[in-house]
Symmetry: C2
């Protein structure tokens, strides 16, 4: 078993199409998590993740802040203590709508489809 503060894991730029967003890969195959990975995203005010889709789902828990989940046909606000589910192959984007850092956990499967 392993216990560590999430800040022990390096925050990396979330990559192309994202803005003012970092990701920490908290639990991965390297640590023995064979089935799904846990990441923590931090989006600064004005920041966002790419508007994209992929063949795996997102399971999200919002730790802090407020944001907008943008889909192809609708948008929905979310905030601290919200749960978000994005099914496989649905276009989506997370935007920070607030004036402090938006922080959420986002989990993805290693095998899918």
């Amino acid at each position: 078993m392993k216990v560590f503060n999430y800040r022990k894991v390096k925050a990396e730029d979330a990559g192309e199409g994202s803005f003012k967003t970092t990701v920490r890969w908290l639990l991965t195959k390297d640590l023995g998590a064979e089935n799904f990975a846990m990441r923590l995203f931090e989006i600064e005010p004005g920041g966002y993740t790419p508007f994209h889709s992929h063949p795996w789902e997102h399971e999200v828990f919002v730790l802090e802040g407020e944001g907008l989940l943008v889909g192809e046909k609708k948008e929905e606000k979310f905030r601290t203590d919200d749960v978000v589910f994005v099914p496989p192959n649905e276009k989506h984007q997370f935007k920070n709508l607030g004036d402090k850092t938006l922080k959420f956990i986002c989990l993805i499967p290693y095998k899918h489809g």
Copy 2:
């Protein structure tokens, strides 16, 4: 896509071997989460989950409070913002060591082994 506050999901007793502990099944197959489930546990002061093992892992993020993770060979304290990983088949128990409710997310795979 779905967005909801975690309190919308009913807190159920966590079952045999647990004490002062509830679980909310936030994301499950019923909602289209085919690969892994997200649950939220709340353990009142003095409460605990069963000391047990099973052939699937736990991926945990501690939302609030402080507790003790009991294993077969060691114990480790944890608190708000900690990440906990319990590998498959390792005996484990979560205890609340604090004076307020201990709250954490715990995810499990649907397929394993």
